[in-house]
Symmetry: none
Subunit: 197 residues, 4 copies
Amino acid sequence: MIITLASYKGGAGKTTSAVHLAAYFQTLAPTLLLDGDKTKNALNWSQRGKGFSFRVAPVDQAARLAKNYEHIVIDTGQRPDAADLKEAVDACDLLIIPATPSPLDTDGLIQTVLALKKIGTDSFRVLLTKVPPPPERDALELRKLLEDEGVSIFKGEIPRLKAFEKAAGAGEIVQQTNDRNATRAWDSYMAVGKELM
Amino acid sequence: MIITLASYKGGAGKTTSAVHLAAYFQTLAPTLLLDGDKTKNALNWSQRGKGFSFRVAPVDQAARLAKNYEHIVIDTGQRPDAADLKEAVDACDLLIIPATPSPLDTDGLIQTVLALKKIGTDSFRVLLTKVPPPPERDALELRKLLEDEGVSIFKGEIPRLKAFEKAAGAGEIVQQTNDRNATRAWDSYMAVGKELM
Amino acid sequence: MIITLASYKGGAGKTTSAVHLAAYFQTLAPTLLLDGDKTKNALNWSQRGKGFSFRVAPVDQAARLAKNYEHIVIDTGQRPDAADLKEAVDACDLLIIPATPSPLDTDGLIQTVLALKKIGTDSFRVLLTKVPPPPERDALELRKLLEDEGVSIFKGEIPRLKAFEKAAGAGEIVQQTNDRNATRAWDSYMAVGKELM
Amino acid sequence: MIITLASYKGGAGKTTSAVHLAAYFQTLAPTLLLDGDKTKNALNWSQRGKGFSFRVAPVDQAARLAKNYEHIVIDTGQRPDAADLKEAVDACDLLIIPATPSPLDTDGLIQTVLALKKIGTDSFRVLLTKVPPPPERDALELRKLLEDEGVSIFKGEIPRLKAFEKAAGAGEIVQQTNDRNATRAWDSYMAVGKELM
DNA sequence: TGAGTTAGAATGGCACCACCCGTC
DNA sequence: GACGGGTGGTGCCATTCTAACTCA
């Protein structure tokens, strides 16, 4: 299975999602994470600690490495344009668009996603990330908005937790991090992974 | 005075900073905000509400409009590369790099900023944004790190407040928003603006 | 069902009524709101926020869109003349005339409505809007006056609440607005909608 | 002096303003109020009671009557279009645009007024009417908005008082009405009249 | 008859509470 | 486990306007 992550907007937790979904797939079968972002955050992350259980490589090495892995997760850059997203969609089985609930970007996100639907692609899903705790309701509203528009969206959502940043800083998967909320953080990505199967 | 905002990473509050700094300058002299981001967030923001006290226009109209304004704020896109930033720096009096304290991006930010210094430019400053409330210390640590490296950084910093998102959603300046923390949010940008004068 | 809103006098809450009745019908079946007012307030309203759950379009697009919708609400302009109203009545199943209780306009409203009855139309109803709180009794008196004249009038009436203006400013339905009286405001239109069925 | 009243939106207190400004001018010199509105509200108002101290006539009689009066106030209809307003402006010394602070109409009002300015006319002023009591701040915000755009606006504003409706219902000037706030209501128009001289 | 008082309603501002997160 | 901070929800208060009532 080939999964691509591309965000409409930067700072939406794209790399974090790529890393943890790769970690989840690795529990099922050999998995490769291809870092296609200019900032090479996924690679840096993996090199900062003791290494991940799965292989991480720059996207250029896709051709060389792909045949050895059952699952491939591609972390690609920010793609604000529907046409850009269409390209990414065509190259994978499923495109995941991580999105933070933020009124500033809601408009653009909706428009882009609808444009994507109009182009004729349905093989993409939105993942709500960095969701603040209740009683904040922006995530709920964004979810409702997308559902009303018929956009596919993961039921699971990723809470805004320091544990993720700790993990990134330490070069670890959030599961391995010393944080009270580590398991909850990991569970949130596990739930998303299970939705994928 | 021409000020450009360019972020190393998306989602750092670049547009929010551009809008509110433009609002601050407008209190001093006629100000123009040029939106150079692909997502045209600043333009959308201004069109969502009753309009701003300052003029907002796409960056293409720079040549036509520039002569009528005392201050110009340019909201440009994400520029992860030091060379990209150098270009932006050369076209303005001061480049402001909004940055969120996040371990994931700290490394890349530092490297980019140091590369910028090595190239020979000093006319840029880092602005810490979306700073979580104490007792979180990531902002303090990032600040110390940058100061130790001799990077210019604003003393003022922008707290992570819902008021900013409310304002963006309503198409307003945060000052005008109905929120408990609206004045504090506005004061944080006022302080940054005063540092600039 | 095709419902037209036309007011004898401007500022009677015609657009507000059109928007909220359309929102009510949308809860029952696909609904289209046609904006036929020169000021295009309904369209602006819908574009100011995140969009409505129902479709809004200029009245010119009626022919193209009508077949896809179960209910159509038409927001037409001010029509002080009985002959003008007659035209509007003939083009729909029911004409709703929103009217504010105001001694200045009572005379003209009564005369117009009676002229309309004399012409031979009964498929219109008056809706009292912007009703001030007790102990003001103008609304009661206007209602009694109209009932005595045999004019059809909605039992439900719309109170004068800031929530409606907030909603209009935010580009939302009043139900979604952050206001203490939002639900009461919405309930008042729900009651009117139920009277219609 | 020839003063015309034209509102961007109905229900803004246009007729009320015309009547009371005519009453004010009558205290200075012989004044004529021309009713050019289709609903003939000003004429009806004057005929409902004992008559006004000034002369009221349909606008068609302008040519016949004008020469006998020092001041003429013209109550014309709703004119949502800047071009319509331009016509009205050219026919008088000053155009007064009564406007109610209402988020729904703010956008349209601003655009119309700015278009009027762009056309090249400066001989018009906005009058805030039906201003709700504090702590509501919409009037303040609309005033600030207009001032920021450089639109001429009366310092005096007309409060939303029942006294005006009582007066209209009784065919009187508000000054003569039996209401606790009658003098305050009258004073508000007196202040506007003094601003005109 | 006229002036002062009272009750009811709506608005905005403020304080308080519960819940959640992060650090110590 | 305690503490500080942000967010949303609820409730209270001051202000204003209207109509009805009371009292001189």
